[in-house]
Symmetry: C2
Subunit: 134 residues, 2 copies
């Protein structure tokens, strides 16, 4: 699979895909006869994983470390697990902050909506008064 197709499939620019490979977020992708990247299934799964982790804000640097450990083989799964656990903690913390902000946003939006309702009520009242109904 060519870089452009991968780019389209995941919504990452080919520049980004090459950048990820350059810095070690993705191990070197195999090339076809003329030196062009040819992504296989495993590469695609790696891209997807990185895209997912990055979309949640895990730092490139940390992911490089993790991917490096994965390449080292199956001896050091403990270190890999530690990284994931630490990042999970940070992620949960960020999500809590975001939930808090979301609550406040919801509250503010509600206040704006109530303000509009009040204003509409006032207008109706004013109209009623003009018609001497109330």
């Amino acid at each position: 699979m060519k870089i452009m197709e991968v780019s389209e499939q995941f919504g990452l620019s080919s520049d980004t895909l090459r950048y990820y490979e350059r810095v070690g977020l993705i191990p070197p992708v195999n090339r076809n006869g003329s030196g062009m990247r040819d992504y296989n299934e495993l590469d695609l799964r790696r891209v997807e994983f990185i895209k997912c982790m990055r979309s949640a804000g895990l730092p490139v640097e940390v992911l490089i470390e993790y991917v490096g450990l994965v390449q080292q083989g199956d001896q050091i799964t403990e270190a890999r697990k530690e990284i994931l656990i630490e990042q999970r903690g940070l992620l949960i913390a960020r999500m809590k902050e975001m939930q808090n902000t979301l609550d406040i946003l919801n509250h503010k939006i509600e206040v704006y909506e109530n303000a509009v309702l009040r204003k509409e009520k006032e207008i109706v009242q004013a109209e009623d008064q003009a018609l001497e109904i109330s």
Copy 2:
């Protein structure tokens, strides 16, 4: 309240507080006789609001626009509401991505833990075999 105290209270550097004021995230803070910032209650609430929004990733640029509209008075609450609603949508989307990543992290961590358990079981089995128990 002096900038240093505000900095400590909110965990934002004084540089950041001055930066927020400079770019318009916070309206100009009153100064004491010798030209130094003296934050009042309202200023503190503004700082807290911005800190909260920023902690959830709302862009500085958007917040500048929102704060600008707030300064314009109570005519244009609709535009302000729109901004909040849009940002809430983006926030919810980010949180969903993060939840997805969190699920995957949890799954991977579980796999690592099971791997450790399996390895321990193998060791026990090996010991049993050595002792010719099984």
